[in-house]
Symmetry: C2
Subunit: 451 residues, 2 copies
Amino acid sequence: MRLSRYFLPVLKETPAEAQIASHRLMLRAGMIKQAGAGIYSWLPLGFKVLRKLENIVHEEQMRVGHIPMLMPTLQPADLWRESGRYDDYGEEMLRIKDRQGRDLLYGPTNEEMITDIFRAHVGSYKDLPLTLYHIQWKFRDEMRPRFGVMRGREFYMKDGYNFDLTQEDALHSYNRHLVSYLRTYERMGLQAIPMRADSGPIGGDDTHEFLVLAETGESEVFYDSQITDLKFGDREVNYDSHEACRAVLEEFTSRYARTDETHDEALFNEIPEERRRTARGIEVGQIFYFGTKYSEAMGATVQGPDGKSVPVHMGSHGIGVSRLVGAIIEASHDDKGIIWPEGVTPFHAGIVNLKQGDAEADAACEALYAGITALGLDPLYDDRDERAGGKFATMDLIGLPWRITVGPRGLKNGVVELTSRRTGESEEMAPEDAIRRLAEIYAPHRGAPVF
Amino acid sequence: MRLSRYFLPVLKETPAEAQIASHRLMLRAGMIKQAGAGIYSWLPLGFKVLRKLENIVHEEQMRVGHIPMLMPTLQPADLWRESGRYDDYGEEMLRIKDRQGRDLLYGPTNEEMITDIFRAHVGSYKDLPLTLYHIQWKFRDEMRPRFGVMRGREFYMKDGYNFDLTQEDALHSYNRHLVSYLRTYERMGLQAIPMRADSGPIGGDDTHEFLVLAETGESEVFYDSQITDLKFGDREVNYDSHEACRAVLEEFTSRYARTDETHDEALFNEIPEERRRTARGIEVGQIFYFGTKYSEAMGATVQGPDGKSVPVHMGSHGIGVSRLVGAIIEASHDDKGIIWPEGVTPFHAGIVNLKQGDAEADAACEALYAGITALGLDPLYDDRDERAGGKFATMDLIGLPWRITVGPRGLKNGVVELTSRRTGESEEMAPEDAIRRLAEIYAPHRGAPVF
């Protein structure tokens, strides 16, 4: 993309209403614009990141055999009356009447609707196990929406639902989700720690939240410092194997890690003092096993191998996709702006032309642009007739992890400059070498096209 | 995908509520399930097609330089009060009050919101031309939703908006949209004819609808038979060239083609009688130029080269993405089921194992599955222990354009059978040749990953 043809409305001033870094930086970098309280438009740069996160989630869900679909944003109230949650849910549910006077609601989650789909179409244990998921806009009418997309009202979320014959199978689905989430977050450049949690209005006994450590986190967290040494990495896991998935869960939950909601001071004090940590965390996902809560209330049963009808065991599993954009920024920024991890960056590299209009500099930038594009990577070329200082400030603000600076002086020596946004270190090299380096850097971050 | 692990709830019975082929077939093929009046869940097969269409739209929009973003589903009523449309829009607008008593609405279109974004961030003619678009869920509270996704209430639509300094530039944007739409529809296997139309509540003088001929179309259309001979094909167009885009518009609007709304009997009668056609058509998109209607009402101005402030010239441009799924089926089905065009098929080929459990047949199917997958194509392998007749009926119903049939008898001669869903013709060949044929067939239908 050429910046002269893009829509990147960066702000010079820090918006007064933004209290935390991600909100401030998303506004300043021209990623979002508020449309109403807790409701945002995703401007081109923001949308690009959102879509990258969505693609990673799809790819990792499909990798473990979960099946994508899409439920609507509006739901009939009657479904929620069946589970009893229509009255329970309170004012956070946005309730709507259509022109015929029918009660609708803007879905805050989809347990009822997916259970309805299941009971309409599945009747035999032979069709299990089954995990369906979707990524769809949701609405929760927060009393005090704030912190930008971190606590918006309209938000984008992946929610998945497993259907299993037995509790044991359902717990395997739970474990498999935990494994797939670990890999999902790592691809986004995040360390998200699974912590024992409360189930809240979803219900159920088994639940883990995934928390990213960040000063602005809404939860206080307590953990054993050994937990942050764990990496999922590139390991191959047999997702059908109960043992393999359970082993990963055990590894990643073997150290103490809890939020203030479930914190146990006595257990915490058993950890050697030098490993005890207190910090703040941002919740970026949660997995639940809730057994037959919805299947019994709504009659979602299958015929078992013995011919008897039994309610299915279920769980649900969420990743806050739009919130993750904010969480990544909270975890990765400095005073100059955002620092995108390679796996989610909206553009793979910025090209800064120090002397727009200089024939040699322009030609070198065009050649870099073509070379990077030919790799299947997506450069952002600042081809505007602006001062170098302004171009650098924009690149630092929007946080592309790599920048190539092209100027007449370097070109005389046959070099351009490759700069890491994270370390600030620059290295001079021939343009072909800069392209080669980008190819190497991004080789581990290539997703497959998901659809 | 292995069918034993997929969720494809095909129906044997024809649902009584479905009056037209696409609605009937989408329900029977397990593509959608109704969630409420005019509101649908997209089951896995349906979602896959929807996503393919979305990707084609993104790819063709970006090809011509339009910039993707995403506006929210809910909008504050105040924006619509500025344009005057809050009161004009009538009962089709779904109006909502949140817990604080603020008036919201579920967006049926986005002229107001995009104009608000523009006026907040753009102030100079130097930032023009600019075309922003998004693909987002919309809601129109139709009195009588029917025909499945063809006339739903919650629907998925691409809407784009151009901002230009002059009428001449804006008309170029209009023409460029027309060109890009022609290519978009052809990639979906559709012939969509641009027809002069009425502008309705969007406003403006210049507008064309794109209509797909189908018996169940809601509009009566009148055209010169020569228009259906025109193909956009694979031509290269310079989308920045006013002349090049205008020439395409002129070519594709040079023959009489109108809906009943704008039909002119006298003009129609000037066509030689043997070329006069009357038929029915489905509207799958529309483009508008409406000048300064919204920019004047909402103060979206830029400073021109002479330093004077002028309202920008705008247009809007829509493609009904969810409706297109139905339109494609209306245009391409037979009494056995759907016939997907190669460009949008949810799976590229079906593999039918005639004798599941037979070691040789199973191994041959697995090898085909691996070989097709290695091409980057997506096969659906019916690995269930079912009768051949049932497997064929399912494949015919869900409409994959190519089927490979594998059975012990053929394998003895080293062959499998490749069958075209469209013609019904089968050909025996070695498995490697079937894979090679699929690679050739799908070579012209490969999209680039769009994000």
